[in-house]
Assembly symmetry: C2
DNA sequence: CCAAAAGTGTTGGGACTACACCCATGA
DNA sequence: TCATGGGTGTAGTCCCAACACTTTTGG
């Protein structure tokens, strides 16, 4: 392995596919920002930017998310690294894509008020994207689908208190097919990761549903003793 | 997103975790190279090197594998990107790790004769590794484990013609536990991806086993109509 | 009392696990 | 003839899918 100063270095960026769940509209959404500069000026794109020279990659993703969308402390994971030589017309840019899951209930105000250059779009029905971001989105979506069934990540998208129907709707939206209500409830409760609260859903014009929360502590406990989540 | 020339760029490398199956010794192995230069001179490390400025990342991985170990046309997939700021003492280096599966039967000579600076080691019982390669290896192994059961990648490690016992041994080695012979055979044959050959195993001092091959074409056909492999 | 969603059990079939003996071959 | 691994079937259990009606609430 030769010493590297001999070679020109590519730029390294991070991009984030940020998923949010809109229960009111029964839609899975992604957060996009509108580019103010060329290339692709005016186009919508995934939030992201350059990795600083002394910054961890994950850190860069978190920082860019904060700077461009106001989001902080969201669930974030590395997705894949995209490095086609011509993906950015300016210079060689290698981008480490991440995907993030946010509770839209917590962050609704931010993204809605600052709508001039950051906005939520339905996953199906997003505008044309800059660079190879369409491809990145596609991979993020397929990863989310895969992940949902064998890891309890869906809760990152739900509000802290949710109904079983909310949970089911989430799974249906992401997986893209209808699920049987009774079977779904049985399986969900059988995970032992849901805690029934005293509280009931408010302000609906029909029978109110029980609220549940995700049992974070129990999940950590079970993870250590190597069990398998599945839904 | 500011224009990038403002910022210093990190170096970008690829590293490859190359797995091989040694049926003779019933061991899963990885291919390591011995470093000729500092840092970590004399230490064993994953094959890898710098991504050239106009080269695709996958290409770089393939090229380095070829240059350092003589391997070509192996199954290769991106694993994860490692970018801790201090992982290389010289400068900031971000490494896109890959993992590769090779049929040791095809490549046995290469790695064995050129043993001065490339050699196979048992996965458990490898020497201390340079950089953060231990961590990369750990992730590759866990990915391989996960992948094996729901994608037919194991065949990339087996010779073109293999016995069911070979296949079972592979699964046992990777998963780290014994499997029931009758159940394993039933499931393996039920996938419909194995073709029984006329040929029998040769040169064993007991009843000769039937040889099978993996049905590549059938697998492609089934993949398109969205089925799920599982073993 | 009507509309809307919440909530709840059973049954049949398919898949998985556990398990032990005979067979073919070469030395 | 012996040692070594190859090869085979069944029974019990568990899990999953399919399926429809009653309850609660607000309007």
């Amino acid at each position: 392995m030769p010493f590297s100063y001999e070679y020109p270095h590519p730029a390294v960026t991070v991009d984030c596919v940020v998923f949010g769940l809109d229960l009111a509209q029964s839609e899975l959404k992604i957060l996009l920002i509108q580019r103010g500069l060329d290339p692709f000026k005016g186009r919508w794109a995934l939030p992201g930017g350059f990795v600083r020279i002394d910054e961890r990659v994950e850190e860069a993703a978190e920082r860019e998310l904060k700077e461009e969308t106001g989001l902080a402390k969201v669930w974030l994971e590395q997705l894949y690294t995209f490095g086609e030589p011509k993906r950015d017309p300016r210079e060689r840019v290698i981008s480490v894509a991440h995907f993030a899951l946010v509770k839209m209930s917590d962050h609704r105000v931010r993204a809605a008020t600052d709508a001039s250059d950051a906005a939520w779009f339905p996953v199906t029905g997003a505008p044309p994207l800059a660079f190879d971001h369409k491809q990145i989105l596609a991979m993020a979506l397929s990863r989310l689908r895969g992940k949902l069934t064998y890891q309890p990540v869906g809760f990152e998208l739900l509000p802290p208190k949710f109904t079983l129907t909310n949970l089911q709707r989430l799974y249906e939206l992401v997986l893209g097919r209808a699920l049987d209500k009774r079977n779904f409830r049985k399986k969900a409760l059988a995970t032992g990761l849901l805690v029934a609260l005293e509280e009931m859903e408010q302000g609906v014009s029909h029978r109110a549903a029980r609220l549940y929360r995700f049992d974070e502590a129990e999940h950590r406990r079970l993870s250590k003793s190597g069990y398998l989540f599945e839904l």
